[in-house]
């Protein structure tokens, strides 16, 4: 359990999935729509990436080995597992909670098939030393995403009262903002280049 918390904390703060790895940058834009969508997407991403981390660890320990598996099989297996998980979740929701499924269909799809979910699978395999560590990595990616969303949401308020040049309005200025925050977190990470 301690490894879970430690790995999760590292993934949230030190190697935030947004600032250090840009994993969930594509989810950020739909998530920033309102406070409610931030929570929906944040929870969905957290759940999907934690599950992905656990699944990845299971697959990895089942299929130890290099060669063909490491180069060709791993991405295929991971993505297939993710697709299977997605299909199961969707089928379950559709069968039992039809309204909920209809409401969160798009966030669910986006949070399953984005860089954060698959990325946390790879991170879980590379970085975590145990099953709980792998789940912790996934959870950390999700919570880090929520945190980053909150930070960027604060920035939205600030940017709303800035005279941002026309060319920079919208995505570019958000990217600048995230980039500067990423630069700031370098003070904590240090010199090394993350994988």
């Amino acid at each position: 359990m301690t490894s879970f918390l430690l790995v999760a904390a590292v993934a949230v703060f030190l190697e935030n999935a947004l600032f250090a790895r840009a994993l969930d940058i594509s989810v950020l834009l739909p998530a920033l729509h309102s406070r409610r969508t931030i929570w929906i997407y944040g929870l969905a991403v957290t759940l999907s990436s934690s599950a992905a981390g656990g699944v990845a660890w299971g697959l990895h320990s089942l299929l130890q080995g290099g060669g063909w598996y490491a180069s060709y099989g791993q991405p295929f297996l991971f993505l297939t597992a993710q697709a299977f998980l997605y299909a199961v979740v969707c089928a379950g929701l559709r069968a039992y909670k039809k309204e909920l499924y209809r409401a969160i269909r798009v966030p669910l799809t986006i949070s399953f098939f984005n860089c954060a979910a698959l990325g946390s699978m790879f991170l879980a395999v590379y970085k975590a030393g145990s099953f709980w560590g792998a789940v912790g990595t996934g959870a950390g990616v999700g919570v880090g995403f929520l945190l980053a969303c909150a930070l960027v949401r604060v920035a939205e308020g600030r940017l709303a009262i800035c005279n941002v040049p026309r060319a920079f309005q919208g995505l570019p200025v958000r990217l600048m903002y995230i980039g500067l925050l990423a630069l700031a977190t370098y003070g904590l990470i240090g010199h090394q280049l993350p994988v």
Binding site: A22, V106, I110, F113, G119, R166, A182
Partner: protein, 214 residues
């Protein structure tokens, strides 16, 4: 019949133009993760382009075909099928990328596979409505072109600034900025290109919706 065909072609052209002017990567923020993280050299950029082309075109085609002929299957199942297909397409992509450089997969890391999954994000880009296989191919090609443009511009600038080279060929700069290879610099570079693209597309729009695509 002929007029119908020209109308369809005109629609296609318009769609193409729209897709390029509203670059899904630079203005829509799709598939930015690989652009920001690993588009540090032109070689990486080309590799990412290949991966995107290998996954996006078949996946979009598959999605359109499935939507047309297998519409009774629930859409989540179709999505899952697309995902598996994209994962499978990563294998030929790997074969195509491998000759580029010795250590190309080391420098791409996990973002090789993440580019493939980014292609799935294109299926959900806002405002996109699947309208049959032919438009799907156009969409996919335009999306790939947009991605290629973004990743190439970002990669070229970052390689020139961080290593002083272009495709490994020295450019003769005396000062290098090693930090440009880092992720935060990727954000900045992408942001500046996005801003440039923003003003360019507005300029085109102001010129009276001219003929030229770029």
């Amino acid at each position: 019949m002929a007029s119908e065909r020209t109308a369809a072609a005109g629609g296609l052209l318009k769609r193409c133009k729209q897709a390029l002017a509203e670059n899904p990567v630079l203005l829509g923020g799709l598939a930015l993760a690989p652009v920001v993280m690993v588009a540090t050299t032109v070689k990486n950029a080309v590799a990412l382009m290949i991966v995107m082309a290998c996954t996006l075109v078949p996946v979009m085609l598959l999605e359109a075909v499935l939507a047309k002929y297998l519409s009774m299957v629930p859409d989540f199942a179709r999505m899952a099928l697309c995902a598996v297909f994209a994962a499978a397409m990563l294998m030929p992509a790997r074969l195509a990328v491998a000759p580029l450089a010795q250590n190309i997969f080391d420098s791409l890391g996990m973002y090789f596979a993440l580019t493939g999954v980014s292609a799935l994000m294109f299926l959900h880009s806002p405002g996109r409505e699947p309208e049959g296989p032919r438009f799907a191919v156009t969409d996919a090609v335009c999306g790939t072109l947009g991605f290629a443009l973004a990743v190439f511009l970002t990669g070229a600038v970052r390689e020139a600034l961080s290593l002083g080279t272009f495709w490994g060929v020295p450019l003769g700069f005396s000062v290098k900025f090693p930090a440009m290879a880092m992720p935060f610099a990727g954000f900045f570079t992408a942001a500046f290109w996005a801003a440039a693209w923003n003003s360019l597309s507005r300029l085109i729009g102001r010129m009276g919706g001219g003929r030229e695509v770029e």
